[in-house]
């Protein structure tokens, strides 16, 4: 019950700060853009749009979410409440991914994607990975500019190989690279099972790192170690 309330609170928070409005507008814009593309381009263009925006929204917004919570002293209350770090991380991850999944579903339907369930699975997996990375960085930074700068290398090492992989410009062994596995899924094509195993392992590692980062952030609230 506490966990459900937390997700609900996070969703209300997102609605209040215009996330739903923003993504409603962006979804319409992306769908119109895809509609104007030639048939041969549509599926790949949709995959790039889904992977770089709704799936990666955690990486873009998590810095602002955590910094706002810090400046409003919300994290101080979390630290002394019965809420666990695991619940906090899952709530943030799932609440953001709900928007990502809805946007991805609309875009996949608009281009008649081969397998919508696979697109959603790929969006969900990449969404979790990006959000966890966002949480790990956000827990350590002090300003938005720091966060934006810290996410640039992550964007380069995830987006560039994934886009190159989409166009078949990467060697065969790169099929197991987690970003490429997610891109294969979002594109609705066959993915590497070994790669999926690696992605799951990476997810566990990122979750552990996020757990450590958030625990440390909560312990250091107010400049004192609790």
């Amino acid at each position: 019950m506490r966990f459900c309330n937390l997700i609900l609170w996070d969703m209300k928070f997102q609605a209040r700060y215009g996330f739903y409005l923003l993504y409603g507008f962006l979804t319409l814009l992306y769908a119109a853009l895809l509609f104007s593309f030639p048939e041969a381009w549509k599926e790949k263009a949709a995959a790039i749009l889904i992977f770089s925006d709704p799936a990666a929204m955690g990486l873009f917004f998590m810095g602002a979410v955590v910094l706002l919570e810090k400046s409003q002293r919300v994290t101080s209350f979390f630290a002394v409440s019965p809420l666990s770090v695991i619940e906090y991380i899952w709530s943030k991850t799932l609440a953001l991914n709900i928007i990502a999944l809805v946007v991805a579903a609309v875009l996949a339907v608009s281009v008649n994607s081969r397998s919508i369930s696979l697109v959603l699975l790929g969006t969900f997996l990449s969404g979790i990975l990006f959000t966890l990375l966002g949480i790990i960085i956000a827990a350590k930074i002090k300003s938005l500019n720091q966060f934006i700068l810290a996410t640039v290398p992550i964007e380069i090492i995830t987006f560039v190989p994934a886009v190159l992989h989409l166009f078949g410009a990467t060697p065969e062994f790169m099929r197991i690279y987690p970003a490429n596995v997610c891109m294969d899924m979002i594109c609705g094509r066959e993915f590497s099972v070994v790669g999926l195993f690696f992605t799951a392992a990476l997810l566990v590692i990122f979750f552990y790192a996020a757990y450590r980062s958030v625990s440390k952030m909560w312990q250091c609230e107010g400049g004192e170690k609790l």
Binding site: L22, F25, A64
Partner: protein, 237 residues
């Protein structure tokens, strides 16, 4: 004036601490090098791959426009992020009651970075351009790119009350740069749907190779800046 300079220097110290100053200084050069060297290389590969005479070279003008928009957008975006931080930390309201005032604050946070962006663009565009731009076109693109940067910063500061709203507005406001693509990809008169964007007139000017479109571009940009400036003066408490 002294208060404005001090306030600007304070912001520089703040972003230097974040390494953002270093990023702001190097990013335009890196982006310029990518446009100058990687885009023609991709074009060469695409010509070999497709057997066509030209694939992306007809759109080189668009790359020049985007390059002219990058530095101002980035400089003003960094300033807008600092403004959001100061608003959330309640620092801005203390600055308003000093000799700096609201106007001085806006000048130190948006106008001075925009002037730096104008100079940077005017210097780097002739080096990294992909098409034969005249001196007047370079000045025009630098100027309208700067106006666009100011609009982005004002939009972020005027429409958002905290960091999170700021990030959402940032995402939306950065789309205004893409108005430049309309004259290239949308036939007339439908492309004029985007005529409320200064970037549309930048695209039109380069696409039609006519400097006359500088007038509507400056007019549209100027009107938007005045409206947003008025809104921001009301919203800043």
């Amino acid at each position: 004036m002294r208060a404005i300079c001090r306030s600007f220097l304070h912001m520089l110290k703040f972003i230097r601490h974040d390494m953002m100053l270093f990023a702001a200084l190097t990013a335009p050069v890196l982006a310029g090098m990518a446009i100058k060297f990687i885009v023609p290389f991709i074009e060469k590969s695409l010509i070999q791959f497709t057997g066509m005479n030209a694939v992306i070279s007809p759109y080189y003008g668009l790359f020049d426009i985007f390059f002219a928009s990058i530095s101002p957008a980035m400089f003003c975006y960094i300033s807008a992020m600092v403004m959001l931080e100061e608003h959330d930390d309640h620092i801005d309201r203390y600055l308003f009651i000093t000799g700096l005032g609201k106007n001085g604050y806006i000048i130190s946070r948006i106008v001075i970075p925009a002037l730096f962006a104008f100079v940077t663009t005017a210097v780097l565009l002739p080096i990294f351009r992909l098409t034969d731009l005249s001196a007047a076109q370079i000045i025009f693109l630098s100027l309208t790119g700067t106006l666009q940067g100011i609009i982005i910063a004002l939009l972020i500061a005027a429409l958002s009350s905290n960091k999170l709203e700021g990030m959402a507005v940032t995402k939306l406001s950065s789309l205004i740069i893409f108005g430049a693509a309309a004259p290239y990809f949308i036939s007339s008169p439908f492309c004029f749907c985007f005529s409320f964007l200064p970037s549309f007139w930048m695209g039109k000017s380069i696409y039609d190779n006519s400097l006359i479109y500088m007038v509507p571009s400056l007019f549209v940009g100027g009107i938007q800046i005045i409206i947003l400036q008025r809104k921001i003066m009301k919203s800043l408490i």
